[in-house]
Symmetry: C2
Subunit: 222 residues, 2 copies
């Protein structure tokens, strides 16, 4: 079965490079977060708010997209350390692309590295990029059947951010159903309600981020 | 460059099988539509409404999902001819999976074959399934930057359905920006405003579907 072997080899090579990325980031004293979600769940907006709130603590961002540098441009206003990775037809970031991105980012003094993956609930799941934690965003407009449909995505999450919760009263969304589905696939990741519009959950998100730092130093906000 | 050769061979094999699927569907007197979009854009709900509106004209549906048969179950209430294709970790449907699905669907008397692809704005674009037309759904909550970010998806569309337009006044969405981006990548596909909640655009959608039939027979509605 040559097809399966090719896939296995690609994933093995990716994991090796990912381990090196993780070492590089750890050695620089930073912690890396891989953000995964469907398109339009609010990854870039959340990062804008997060970087602004964490200042003067320094953050670096690697932003994956098929085309355009719009997200990196949006983030450049908040941090000088934003690198765009264009994947063309690629449906996920690879560890190798992150290695290349890291060569363009001076990590000295950086404490948080955020990797914004391609908006896709399937392919990014299989590719370790060298992150320390995986953050999965799930926005209310996507509907309440996504945990059952994309269990592998939610299974790999260290935290699940339920975004755009300001739309909970406006759109049909059965939260109890989502929680029941989550109980089947992931019982360790906290589920955090978040709205960058109203500010709900942002403090809890920042606290969770700080808790992931190896020495749990107190959160420095600007 | 072995990696590129493998990908090219996979796509070539897929296209050959897709051509056979198209012949099979055409020979049966049916027209096939491949529905592509991000997760949660409203493909299943649209198909439920469409199949009900087209009755007694017979429709068949092939539904792709990683896990669960929820979409096929939802559609089974509207048509007996619904087949679920579970792809496991697969991020798109392939022509081969459609061939297999078609063996479970009696095409006699069927006029419309709808193929609901995996919710993913990237990978399904590269795989011809044997459809006659490509339908791209783009929902308002996804935000107004998706045409620029996923140009290949919008480039391949024969029609673009802007879904959940009832949210246009509620969410930030710059329609002029989307139209300007579309003018760069696709000038032939109509852009149709649609809301299965208010019913806006549904008649125009049904008319477009009927126009794609080879002999443009008048639309039969129940």
């Amino acid at each position: 079965m040559p097809r399966i072997e090719v896939v296995a080899n690609v994933l093995k090579a990716n994991d090796t490079i990912a381990a090196i990325n993780r070492q590089t980031i750890t050695a620089a004293g930073a912690t890396a977060f891989n953000l995964l979600s469907a398109p339009g769940s609010g990854k870039t907006t959340l990062l804008q708010k997060t970087i602004a709130a964490l200042a003067p603590t320094r953050c670096a961002v690697l932003v994956g997209d098929l085309q355009t540098s719009r997200d990196a441009e949006r983030l450049a206003a908040d941090t000088a350390d934003a690198v765009q990775i264009n994947t063309g037809r690629g449906c996920h970031l690879s560890a190798e692309q992150v290695t290349e991105g890291l060569t363009k980012l001076p990590l000295q003094g950086v404490r948080y590295v955020f990797i914004e993956n391609i908006g896709n609930m399937v392919c990014p799941v299989s590719f370790d990029l060298g992150e320390h934690r995986r953050v999965v965003l799930y926005s209310i407009p996507e509907g309440d059947d996504k945990v059952a449909k994309y269990p592998l995505l939610f299974q790999c999450a260290d935290i699940i951010l339920l975004t755009k919760v300001d739309l909970l009263g406006i759109l049909d969304f059965d939260l109890a159903k989502v929680k029941a589905d989550l109980a089947q696939v992931n019982t360790h990741a906290p589920l955090l309600h978040l709205s960058t519009k109203t500010g709900e959950g942002v403090t809890a998100w920042l606290e969770w981020l700080a808790e992931q730092r190896p020495n749990r130093q107190p959160l420095q906000t600007g």
